[in-house]
């Protein structure tokens, strides 16, 4: 009996030896074992006088040459896909662990959850607020500060600096208190979205044809409203205080050494 059983095992060993990926080898072996068991049961059902040992012999002989079956199985079951699958499973498990342990939710879960939920609301609010400021500066909105618009411009100027396109859209000159302030829609579009950052907005400066310089570290040179940002872009209502109403043009520059030279014509007032 044991010898017979051994003959089934050795047939299975020979037939599956060529499958190099172990999980596949075990699965195929199980499948072949089930198949053999079915065959044995069939023989015993069809020939009730046949002993189990005889049925096993017959079943094994009907399965064919184990070497030939083994070669065919080895051809079908390529190991690299199995290894790749196993590696991909490990990678998924590692990444899940990294995501659970490594993401910022561990340090302050309440604050991070609040931030994750609140930030989109805050962004939407800032966009709405900024649109309201833009409506007042260049449109029909009513200011909630002491000021009166004295000129409106449509510049539509563009320039390249580094890997970025800097554009100036609408503009408006406002009388605010004793001085005049120029507002322009300034937008930066980065070729490389990952380089976008708000800090850049603090280093623009301007000069006019009357020889006045509006340096970036001077009070009154900055922006009104919020800085809007998206993937790879920033937009702001850039502000220059105390611009002379007699100035015919204003040139927008960036840090010393960079060659941004965006000229805004202040003589072409939009009706």
């Amino acid at each position: 009996m044991n010898d017979k059983k051994r003959s089934i095992w050795s047939w299975l060993d020979l037939a599956t030896a060529g499958i190099r990926f172990k999980p596949d080898r075990e699965a195929v072996r199980q499948e072949l074992t089930d198949h053999l068991e079915d065959k044995i049961a069939d023989f015993q059902r069809i020939f009730p006088d046949m002993t189990r040992a005889e049925a096993q012999d017959r079943a094994v002989s009907e399965m064919g040459d184990p070497m030939e079956v083994g070669r065919e199985l080895a051809r079908i079951h390529k190991p690299w896909l199995g290894y790749l699958w196993r590696v991909s499973r490990i990678l998924v498990q590692v990444m899940v662990c990294v995501a659970i342990v490594g993401v910022p939710f561990r340090s302050n879960p309440v604050e991070n959850l609040r931030s994750a939920l609140w930030t989109p609301v805050q962004d939407a609010w800032e966009r709405w607020e900024n649109r309201a400021v833009s409506d007042v500066l260049y449109g029909d909105g009513q200011p909630d500060w002491d000021g009166e618009r004295i000129a409106l411009y449509s510049f539509g100027e563009k320039a390249r600096l580094g890997h970025c396109t800097i554009s100036v859209g609408r503009g408006a000159l406002w009388q605010e208190g004793d001085g005049t302030s120029l507002y322009v829609e300034l937008r930066l579009d980065y070729d490389r979205p990952w380089e976008a950052g708000k800090g850049v907005l603090f280093y623009f400066w301007a000069e006019d044809d009357l020889g006045n310089r509006y340096d970036y570290d001077r009070p009154g040179v900055g922006y009104r409203g919020e800085i809007l940002e998206g993937i790879g872009w920033l937009a702001v209502n850039y502000r220059v205080d105390d611009v002379s109403p007699e100035a015919e043009w204003l040139k927008l520059h960036y840090m010393p050494g960079t060659d941004l030279d965006l000229t805004l014509d202040l003589t072409e007032v939009r009706p």
Partner: protein, 244 residues
């Protein structure tokens, strides 16, 4: 519970192995992107972090001229079309989310016009402070630089503050490089136990630029004759900072 999950899993349509690999790799990519997004797309190298800060401040394209330091603290001198910038990247641990990021600073952005004399805030491999010079008059091929240093820019708590001399002049000579730069290596005093230069470099090692020390630069031609003598101060720190 485990059996319930197993049964549920078994009820799901089973994909062929090839598609399982595709699904898993897609999940890995998605999870990697999620983690990187939550970590703020951290830079992998100090110079990568510095380049990103340069990109943010529109100082691109630029070329690396000199790098000092190694490992966690590195300083860079880069040259753009019309400007020169000096900055650093220091690897710091972020207590918010248990990872390392780079504190990157742009200390100086200088127009490439006239004489440029600028010091790198991280010591070179020979433990010297490197002062880079460009824009010298034609004919100058070598030079001598004297920098008067003092303790004013140092933290009183920093390395052996009270044992250091209050002021000292450091001198170095350099030849003109092929790219037109001079790199003066101001060396520490090897025999002194407490050298002012070492103290200054230590106190600058993480945050600061080299203070606005006065310098005197003497430029010589090939025959050793004096071409020009210039006095000035090292440029102020522009303190542009990023966290990458």
């Amino acid at each position: 519970m485990k059996t319930v999950w197993k049964n549920l899993w078994a009820k799901l349509p089973q994909l062929p192995r090839r598609w399982k690999v595709v699904r898993n790799l897609a999940a890995v990519l998605l999870l990697s992107a999620l983690c990187l997004r939550l970590w703020g797309w951290p830079s992998l190298t100090p110079y990568g972090a510095f380049r990103r800060l340069e990109g943010e401040y529109l100082l691109t394209p630029s070329e690396l001229v000199l790098r000092t330091g190694s490992g966690k603290y590195q300083a860079f001198l880069t040259e753009g079309e019309n400007w020169v910038s000096v900055g650093r990247a220091s690897q710091m641990s972020s207590y918010d989310d248990f990872r390392y990021k780079y504190d990157v600073r742009l200390h100086h952005v200088l127009p490439k016009a006239g004489l440029i004399v600028v010091a790198l805030p991280v010591a070179a491999e020979d433990h010297a402070m490197v002062v880079a010079v460009k824009g010298v008059p034609k004919g100058a091929v070598s030079g001598e630089l004297e920098v008067e240093m003092n303790k004013d820019g140092m933290w009183p708590e920093s390395h052996a503050f009270h044992q250091l001399k209050s002021a000292e002049t450091f001198t170095a000579r350099a030849e003109k490089e092929e790219n037109g730069w001079f790199f003066f290596h101001l060396e520490q005093h090897p025999l002194e136990e407490y050298c002012l230069l070492e103290g200054i470099l230590n106190s600058m090692s993480v945050w600061g630029a080299v203070p606005e020390f006065p310098y005197r630069l003497t430029l010589l031609d090939e025959a050793g004759n004096e071409v020009e003598r210039v006095e000035g101060t090292l440029p102020p720190d522009q303190r542009i900072q990023g966290w990458r």
